[in-house]
């Protein structure tokens, strides 16, 4: 295995593996979030479990952070290398003739998502860390009730934030529209299931971000009265 990550293909496979991990995470995150529409109580319970379970907090969460950091650092490394392998570009290039906009602009959709992740951390994750580990309140309670649902709803009062979330999820969809199947191609999956997988990938890339958008809009619209 020595030097695997040094080779171009090794990097690309690593990129794909981190992508798989993030896609699974995204699905899980979505599953919990959608509960906030269906049943706020269950949402609170699951959120509390996730926020306090040591396995999630001290094993899965660091892996997730590593995955996120790895994915975008490697993304930048590859983009830099790729960009510099053609120092003089074409005067006229017709990229639309042979590839999709999404596939050629993963770096931009990626940067947009990264910016969103920062916003998202400021919104939720940093306050969580503050409450749990600096203040030391692991109860998850506020005024005798679980605080998670309320915090969520409160955040989505602000139309600017909701707008930013919607835009970010559109970028996420664009990123996934290429990224989902690209990851499978990178690890060499190309067989009789590829065609159905492509369809599934498209559905995933559109439905999951759309779901997140619906959740954000739902809470925004529900709370403006």
């Amino acid at each position: 295995m020595s030097g695997f990550l040094k080779s171009s293909i090794g990097k690309k496979i690593a990129m794909a593996l981190s992508a798989f991990f993030l896609m699974v995470f995204l699905l899980q995150h979505f599953a919990i979030n959608i509960l906030s529409i269906i049943n706020p109580d269950t949402f609170n319970e699951v959120s509390h479990f996730m926020g306090t379970n040591p396995l999630v907090q001290f094993v899965l969460q660091p892996i997730l952070i590593f995955g996120v950091v790895f994915h975008f650092v490697m993304g930048f490394v590859l983009e830099y290398k790729n960009h510099t392998s053609r120092s003089l570009g074409y005067v006229k290039n017709n990229g639309n003739a042979n590839s999709t906009w999404m596939s050629r602009n993963m770096i931009y959709s990626g940067i947009a998502i990264l910016a969103f992740v920062v916003l998202h951390f400021i919104d939720f994750w940093f306050p969580e860390l503050n409450t749990k580990y600096l203040i030391g309140d692991m109860s998850g309670m506020h005024n005798g009730e679980f605080r998670y649902y309320h915090e969520l709803v409160e955040k989505f009062h602000n139309p600017l934030r909701v707008g930013a979330y919607v835009v970010a999820f559109i970028f996420l969809a664009l990123h996934l529209l290429h990224g989902f199947n690209s990851a499978f191609q990178s690890v060499g999956a190309n067989n009789k299931y590829t065609k159905s997988l492509k369809g599934f990938g498209k559905a995933y890339a559109i439905l999951i971000p759309l779901g997140f958008i619906i959740i954000a809009l739902f809470h925004f619209l529900n709370n403006t009265h």
Binding site: M1, F4, K6, S7, S8, I9, G10, K11, K12, I13, L78, K81, N82, H83, T84, S85, R86, S87, L88, G89, Y90, V91, K92, N93, N94, G95, A97, N98, S99, T100, S103, R104, M106, H178, N181, S182, Q185, S186, V187, G188, A189, N190
Partner: protein, 248 residues
């Protein structure tokens, strides 16, 4: 047909180049693209100018010499053809046509539209072969039956003409379709299995050394490839590299 050509002119590898405009008249739609350039060159020579240098040889789409980036696409707007098989009927009277060399740092310009694609040769030197001597005392050709499907797929991969359109088209200047095709041809045949591990590792290492970019699966190479080499070959190369890395 009357056309305006915008052609990249560059005296040699060390000087800077630029786009130069050439109007050209009375082009027959039956001409091939290279024959249109022949007409331009005859005019340039007669006027005491230097003709446009471009690579070409067989002019029937198999040698892989011709290599132009026409209106933003490798081998121009037609599909499954090389530049020499592209005909002027694909253009309209009054069109402006941009003609540039295949661009990648691994393909330095030699002159005008000619680039140096010897990086492809060096990748092949590093492992693009099966190590058998030509003693003439091989086992009989029929001693190892090969399933028709595998033989046909190997043939599809082997159809690559090494023109470099994949590199030129790829936004990352990646050579993976080319290398993937060669790795696949041998990976699909039993004769190629013996050296499979070293082959894919050596060829990928040489490919990286030459300064090609990485594949981001945009699929542009497959679309522009004049021989329709499939992306499946890149997937197979990736699998082969994973297998090889696990083994060694």
């Amino acid at each position: 047909m009357n056309l305006t050509l915008q052609i990249w002119r560059q005296k040699n590898a060390t000087t800077e180049g630029k786009i130069v405009e050439y109007p050209i008249q009375d082009i027959s739609p039956d001409m091939s693209f290279l024959e249109m350039l022949d007409v331009l060159n005859m005019q340039l020579i007669s006027n005491g100018d230097s003709p446009v240098a471009f690579d070409h040889d067989c002019r029937e789409g198999i040698c892989g010499s011709c290599s132009l980036y026409i209106n933003g696409e490798a081998h121009g707007p037609d599909r499954l053809v090389t530049t020499c098989q592209l005909h002027m009927r694909k253009f309209k009277d009054g069109d402006t046509i941009f003609i540039e060399p295949f661009r990648a740092n691994a393909f330095p310009v030699i002159k005008d539209l000619i680039v140096d694609r010897s990086a492809f040769d060096r990748i092949q030197h590093s492992g693009g072969f099966i190590s058998v001597n030509t003693s003439g005392n091989m086992q009989d050709g029929n001693s190892i039956p090969i399933p028709k499907k595998d033989a046909d797929e190997a043939m599809d991969a082997a159809t690559c003409i090494g023109c470099g359109a994949c590199v030129a088209t790829c936004k990352n200047s990646s050579a993976m379709l080319f290398v993937g095709a060669k790795v696949s041809q041998y990976a699909l045949l039993p004769q190629g299995q013996v050296e499979a591990t070293e082959r894919v590792q050596n060829m990928v290492a040489q490919m990286d050394l030459e300064g090609f970019g990485n594949c981001t699966n945009t699929g542009a190479c497959e679309v522009e490839c004049p021989k329709g080499i499939s992306l499946e070959n890149i997937a197979r190369m990736n699998r082969e590299l994973i297998k090889a890395s696990l083994k060694s």
